[in-house]
């Protein structure tokens, strides 16, 4: 039986925790992958005895990780970004560096957006043409 169904009779929602298996099912991952993300420092679950206990924060970081992967980032890049978002930015140099890194990241995302739009337009044009040919073929039978 999953930990969260028993050990958590908390105020409904807040303080919810997850086992590795629950997260694996939810995000369609193997437990091996999740542990690997931990090795990379992407998530740092607590322990209940030997077992890992994941919080909502871990879940969020996992979500961000998967989104980053879908965008073609390496795990190291994802870690750098996610860590940065959670790091303190209370001094001016920290703030300035934050802005520099953000700018670089945004430039990359915008390049990707351009690539994506170009590709999508091509795909849609091909689809349109193919559907036209298909309709023509169907009519001629």
């Amino acid at each position: 039986m999953p930990v969260s169904a028993v050990a958590q009779a908390s105020p409904a929602g807040v303080g919810t925790t997850y086992t590795i298996g629950e997260l694996a099912r939810e995000f369609d991952l193997t437990t091996r992958a999740i542990r690997f993300y931990e090795d990379c420092g992407l998530i740092t679950p607590q322990r209940s005895g030997r077992n890992r206990v994941y919080t909502g924060r871990d879940r969020t970081r996992l979500k961000l990780t998967l989104r980053g992967k879908r965008l073609g980032l390496t795990l190291a890049e994802v870690k750098e970004l996610v860590d940065m978002y959670e790091s303190p930015r209370d001094t001016l140099p920290q703030l300035k560096k934050f802005l520099v890194v953000l700018g670089a990241h945004r430039a990359q995302l915008e390049q990707q957006m351009a690539d994506l739009q170009a590709t999508l337009e091509e795909v849609r044009a091909h689809e349109k043409e193919a559907r036209r040919l298909l309709a023509e073929g169907e009519r001629r039978r």
Copy 2:
């Protein structure tokens, strides 16, 4: 001296060819990478003696390859797509399969578009906030 400057006194533009070094410089790749793409079947240059000769078509496929990579596709996926675009679609089954594959590809691109937009909005929000804090800090000095 590059091949294309000598061996090609052709009608200006049409029939232009490139050496591996020229393409490497243009796209900021190593020659090793370009030869590797050839091993994967992504480009199939002709030969002049032992040397590879790349045509405009090769250049286009190389461009598409790099765009695919920026979008996070594997080389195998890129090959599948690029090949499909160039394959004959003169029978109804071929056409239908073409549409199916296109549809799957488009679904993936649209998921990625959603990921991208979400990420871009977050980055912009963070940037805005950081700039606000920076301005505030500068004012207070």
